[in-house]
Assembly symmetry: C2
Homo-oligomer: 514 residues x 2
């Protein structure tokens, strides 16, 4: 029994909780990926050195803005930066030096310790789509998301074998007041699944609520000593750190909770149209953001983020799964490893309005780049549609299924004597077939990854079964999954305390919808 689990048992005290845990249906989740394949690298040593040098020049000569945040400016001044107005110019080397206290890897704890994730090194942790105001299903189309939709996505995530993490704002519950929805979202992640999750970042007070609710779920001491949330702090690219996001970062860093510090870049709009220029800006922004987190609390866990898309210069629309985004994602991975930080990028990105062929090509492009670029934390790994405006139910299960292929791909090639299979080649010989041979019999159950969503039927049986496309098949799987969902066991005392916290916080203030 792990420390976390022991502590929680201590808190709950009663035999009822233990009985509930024993009788609950167990949803098996794959362990986070540990890569046994190399990373793909597009930049040579010279290019990396130029980009790093240029990023330092950006920090020293152009600087970054910390907006509406006098306390941040004070901190930077104290650390040795040149602060004029809200502009912070960081002497060459200072930001990189400050980043050194950030850990190269850390554990994010889940309430079920078997679902803890390691973030950093060769790991890859997969989390679902984050942020869309709309949801889409193939029967009823596109509509504003509700808290019921939110809970459905958390349930689907809980039931996914390949998803390690429950994520954060899997969709925006627009039917709940803006100043209260974080409470319902956290409550859903804490009660409907036992996977790790993300905290709220839309106000520092909501980040504080997230920490408080975690203390109820995990216990006070446990949260002080361990990372139980990874939250998404976007940088207002170019080179701007706003007070809301920084306020949330300050709360989390002080509480030793992890943040993804992530430039949000539509190439050509928020960064130069060139890959090298974008990487320079991304690195400068991450250096400044991570350094700031270490000014709050040295050793606070952080992830280098890099959200990039290209732009259709005809229409101004962001475009996804494109080669330029791939170059940047590969390059940023190299920069993150040189900086010694965990890396977040990529996802099931696409610009399609439907879970159709476009969604498939673009998402697959992006998912593959994510695996090969050495991403450690992949947000948006499933369910993303229409440039992030929409969480799609069908695409959630199609993508989540493809994540299984990433697991298998990451295993690499086994070369021991059994996998050399010389006995099989000898047994079968020229002109034979391997279906019945001893080696095949020993391995056929696990030799090949198998999709649970894609159609492998012959044409005739597929046609007789209704000639469904992938989205229609996925819709049926969504229905089946949601109908058979069983919540993970939970200590009734903890549940009651969470319910009380949410009710009390909601009762204290009027609804706000902006």
């Amino acid at each position: 029994m792990s420390e976390a689990s022991a502590q929680r048992r201590g808190r709950s005290g009663g035999g009822a909780a233990r009985r509930a845990e024993r009788t609950a249906v167990s949803i098996e989740t794959a362990r986070y990926i540990e890569r046994n394949i190399p990373n793909f690298e597009v930049l040579g040593e010279e290019a990396l050195a130029i980009i790093e040098e240029n990023a330092e020049t950006v920090l020293q000569e152009i600087g970054v803005s910390f907006v509406n945040n006098p306390r941040a400016l004070e901190r930077w001044k104290d650390a040795g930066a040149d602060v004029i107005g809200e502009r912070v110019r960081i002497p060459r080397g200072l930001a990189r030096k400050l980043c050194k206290t950030a850990p190269a890897r850390f554990t994010q704890h889940a309430r079920n310790p078997a679902k803890n994730v390691e973030i950093g090194g060769k790991s890859l942790v997969l989390a679902p789509v984050y942020g869309p105001p709309f949801v889409h299903d193939v029967e009823t189309g596109r509509r504003y998301a509700t808290i019921d939709d939110f809970r459905s996505f958390v349930k689907l995530g809980h039931m996914s074998h390949w998803l390690h993490h429950s994520g954060g704002t899997v969709c925006e519950p627009t039917d709940v007041a803006v100043n209260k929805r974080h409470l319902d979202m956290l409550h859903a992640h804490m009660t409907l699944t036992d996977k790790p999750f993300m905290g709220s970042v839309t106000e520092p007070s909501r980040a504080a609520d997230s920490v408080e609710m975690c203390k109820i779920l995990f216990g006070n001491d446990f949260v002080d000593q361990n990372t139980v949330m990874t939250s998404l702090i976007n940088i207002n690219s170019p080179l701007t750190f706003d007070d809301v996001m920084m306020g949330a970062l300050e709360v989390y860093a002080e509480a030793n909770q992890a943040c993804i510090i992530s430039p949000f870049i539509v190439g050509g709009a928020m960064a130069p149209v060139s890959v090298a220029g974008t990487l320079t800006q991304v690195l400068a922004e991450v250096l400044a953001g991570v350094a700031y987190s270490q000014l709050i609390r040295p050793g606070a866990p952080v992830i280098m983020g890099c959200f990039v898309t290209s732009i259709d210069m005809n229409s101004g629309a962001p475009t996804f799964g494109t080669p330029e985004a791939a170059h940047i994602t590969y390059g940023a991975g190299q920069l993150a490893r040189r900086l010694g930080l965990p890396y977040r990028s990529s996802g099931s990105f696409n610009g399609s309005k439907l879970p159709d062929a476009q969604a498939g090509y673009e998402s697959a492009n992006s998912l593959n780049v994510g695996l090969l670029s050495g991403v450690n934390f992949m947000l948006h790994a499933c369910g993303w549609l229409e440039g992030g405006l929409v969480s799609s139910f069908e695409k959630f299960v199609i993508d989540a299924d493809q994540l299984g292929a990433l697991h298998q791909m990451a295993k690499g090639v086994e070369i021991d004597e059994e996998h050399q299979a010389m006995d099989a080649i000898r047994e079968v010989g020229p002109g034979g077939h391997y279906l019945g041979c001893a080696h095949t019999q020993r391995h056929f159950k696990t030799a090949f990854w198998r999709s649970e969503v894609l159609d492998y039927k012959p044409y005739e049986s597929w046609s007789e079964a209704g000639a469904h496309d992938t989205a229609q098949n996925a819709a049926e799987i969504v229905r089946r999954k949601l109908a058979s969902y069983v919540p993970p066991a939970m200590d009734p005392g903890t549940l009651e305390a969470l319910n009380d916290y949410v009710a009390r916080k909601k009762a204290g203030v009027a609804d706000a919808f902006t």
Copy 2:
């Protein structure tokens, strides 16, 4: 003017041809890809050495079968192999030694010299789907392919900017007799496009017809001295070389025409269920096949092929775009480079019945692996559907569009001062945007790859335009392309000679449909 072009002008003689060439609409085709990115490699030195050692053991101890081919057995005996019955056991090292005369790269000439392709080294040449008996379009569904369909696919290939090669059997024209359809297929490739193409392999006599027709198109001397066809010779895996395929190989090698020597493997059926075992067998088969080509004519151009899919062990269906196929494709690329041979693998592989999300994910997986594994010749790069049973019109244009992304991806990252974009970062500064800055103005037209098929419209305009999915949009593009097709200019004398050859050969024999 190239040698080929000069010779052909010499043949045609008349000014009419030159005038026709001048007035024809030019369809611009991208130059074959020259990679400026590394290859992705999954095998270490030790694993490669084990596989190579095991392949030699397979050749020496188990051997390969050359079926119904006494002349081949003689050749092998003369070369030093141990021949018992049809089984050829090749002493350790002999096959690899024989392979050394095969060129590491070669030029395949097109009748338009601007469309010649280099095969080998860092090049990647893209050719369309090969072999399906059915075609599919989203309006009328799936049906047997006809010669009209065949011509339509050749026209679409001709009009594709990103496709370098017209391919071979883009679909089987099942309405033409089996013993005559190769004539119509070659005629289409020779007259409806000026891109390079493949020869017939279904009978040695049809390979001979292919060479004869090329002599009409290119001139006798030119064909003797240059490679003008690359044809697909499948190995009957495991370890079997049948007389039909070897007969065609013999014709082509003698004529100095290129062959892809390609194991055809559904993993678990025609090869062991393990990656290392499959790679061992693939290498043994390619070593034997390439060595045999060099026994026919030392220096004959060949490509190491590797067609691999995994199998769904529940249903026995072949599966595509899977991680095991990716491992094998990456590994076989490493083996090909160590052998010093051009490499063929990958394609727009998928098992879907429709150009839907499944087709998109699986095809994108496979296309990306093809680029990163160092493939030099990618057959099936567009149009493949339903495990290769179907050529899809819509998927042809969707895939062909994605091939543009591979071109851009292969360019790698430019790091010169202009692409470092420090002037842009200085000009824009914190909180600005890059859309109007000088650097963006200089580069926006070429900075980002842009799809011509995928939908970049906002939701509202997409919805008003009919809310079409990718396949419906592609269907419209297919209609537009075929309606605006213009054949490339052709010397009337050559056309007449080709027409005569086809008519004469068809008149000489009765139709056969098996």
